[in-house]
């Protein structure tokens, strides 16, 4: 039982950081070794958990169904792609009517566009319809996790010359030239958007139900 592979944690990141995570890597040469996307704040992610608003969905498949969904958080947009190999997620996307709050568990995927830039998207394992309270909790939780990473990234800056204390902070410094300050600012923006949203809308949402 102790030989069972440890389940990969679903990392939390806002869309602005996730979409910058264009560098991917494996930890070993094994063909079946898991793929990781590298967050610019210095963490590896084989899986993510995202809660946001689906604003659009479209079947972009040619021969078979291939659903693309746009899921929006306070900092930007996550792109989801679900086809025949993600039947559950595809059927949720097919059936829902935007706008709707959804919780998505999935794997980061990257592809290179014709102009050479890297796009980052989510290949969903599951999509479920949730409520505003769950979305708000995700925003606060993702803010906490992001701040922890920003702090770790910065404390590493002042660290010794023995190299980075945390491997993936060192890797992020090497692979990216993205100021982590931007992600701290996005956290502030995201949290402030909750404050604005909560004023007066509480009653409205109760009435709407």
């Amino acid at each position: 039982m102790s030989d069972a592979p440890t389940r990969e944690v679903a990392r939390r990141a806002f869309a602005s950081e996730f979409n910058d995570a264009g560098y991917t890597f494996k930890e070993s040469d094994d063909e079946r070794a898991p793929n990781y996307a590298l967050f610019p704040t210095g963490e590896r992610a084989n899986r993510v958990f995202v809660v946001g608003t689906v604003t659009e969905k479209e079947d972009v498949g040619e021969d078979s169904e291939y659903w693309r969904g746009r899921v929006v958080d306070p900092t930007g947009t996550f792109f989801m792609y679900a086809g025949q190999y993600q039947p559950d997620a595809a059927s949720v996307l097919r059936d829902l009517e935007p706008p709707e709050y959804v919780a998505v568990v999935g794997k980061p995927r990257t592809y290179e566009t014709d102009d050479g830039s890297i796009n980052v998207s989510v290949r969903p394992e599951s999509i479920s319809i949730v409520d505003a309270a769950t979305r708000d909790r995700w925003v606060v939780e993702t803010a906490e996790r992001t701040l922890d990473r920003v702090e770790r990234f910065r404390s590493d800056d002042e660290g010794d010359d023995a190299g980075s204390v945390y491997e993936y902070v060192g890797m992020a410094r090497e692979q990216y030239d993205l100021p982590v300050e931007n992600y701290r600012r996005d956290v502030v923006t995201a949290l402030e958007s909750l404050d604005e949203g909560s004023e007066g809308t509480d009653d409205a949402s109760v009435e709407a139900e």
Partner: protein, 309 residues
């Protein structure tokens, strides 16, 4: 530890300085503990002071016999306390940082506790299932949960021994990110003392049997730092999903398919946040108590932090 053992410890500490009788020490301890209901640690301190006076010594000059507390893992409730423990390595996990050499779960009859062994500590590798005597470990607290850390000063002695690991409750929270195979409406083997879950109507042990229906959810609660595997038994599953065993059976009957039950449950619970509590069994938390975290959340503290760093 009995009073006699405490008395022997005290006797040992003074053996180079005073001619004292173990029985005398025990009597003094007994007076304080049995008659005056003084806690044993305090009694020991008082008796030690008495002999220090008699020998005209400073406390510092005393040998370090019985220096570290010897506590059960389930009894730890102080941060930064130095301890000696005898424990079994129940589980080893993947370290998430290069600074950590090994991380996992230690257990003894009083419970289990997470341990971290620093990479720099230069200690031997601990093996799962083995029992060790660990001298000089230090406790650590994070959000109300205790762990122990093995460092450079820790002594490790592999004991040729097995000890029982006690039930320990654990509290974990996070988003329910997965419902695993073998969840929903299941059938169990009806043989005496066999509760194995049937696969295609067959029990691994007893072959083809007429199974008994049960409800269960094997799920994963993930807080972005750790993924906790949790099991909801029939009561907990009914509580979680608001679906009774009878309703689940009817639903499966209508669909001529038992898998619809897990699908229906997933729709209601996946992606929501929960906090659960229950005993730890291997890598699972067996859910006794649960709470859906569906109330409003306070973002003020995080916002203050976000603005200040």
């Amino acid at each position: 530890m009995t009073l006699r053992e405490h008395a022997e410890d005290v006797h040992e500490q003074f053996s180079d300085h005073l001619e004292i009788d173990v029985g005398d020490v025990e009597d003094r301890l007994s007076t304080l503990v049995d008659e005056y209901k003084v806690p044993v640690e305090e009694a020991r301190r008082s008796v030690t002071s008495h002999y220090l006076d008699e020998a005209d010594m400073d406390r510092d000059a005393l040998g370090s016999g019985g220096d570290n507390a010897e506590l059960g893992l389930g009894e730890i409730e102080t941060d930064e306390q130095w301890l000696d423990v005898t424990a079994k390595v129940v589980d080893l996990w993947d370290p998430r940082s290069d600074a950590v050499g090994q991380v996992g779960l230690l257990g003894d009859p009083t419970g289990t506790v997470k341990f971290t062994k620093w990479a720099k500590s230069d200690l031997p590798e601990l093996e799962a299932g083995e029992v060790y005597r660990l001298g000089n470990v230090v406790t650590d607290e994070y959000e109300g949960r205790y762990s122990v850390k093995l460092n450079r000063t820790t002594t490790v002695e592999n004991l040729d021994d097995d000890i029982e690991v006690g039930d320990d409750t654990s509290e974990v929270g996070g988003a329910l990110v997965d419902i695993q195979n073998g969840s929903g409406l299941i059938k169990r083997c009806p043989e005496e003392d066999c509760t194995r879950v049937l696969q295609n109507g067959r029990c691994q042990e007893h072959g083809e049997v007429e199974g008994e229906f049960d409800l269960r959810i094997k799920g994963v609660l993930d807080d972005g730092n750790d993924a906790h595997e949790v099991i909801f038994d029939k009561e907990a599953t009914e509580d979680l999903t608001d679906m009774s065993l009878e309703e689940a059976k009817d639903m499966a009957m209508d669909a001529l398919d038992t898998t619809v039950v897990a699908d229906e449950m997933a729709e209601d619970v996946l992606g929501r946040y929960y906090r659960v509590e229950g005993p730890v069994f291997g890598r699972y938390v067996l859910v006794d108590e649960m709470e859906e975290l569906d109330g409003p959340i306070d973002s003020e503290d995080v916002l203050i932090k976000a603005r200040s760093i």
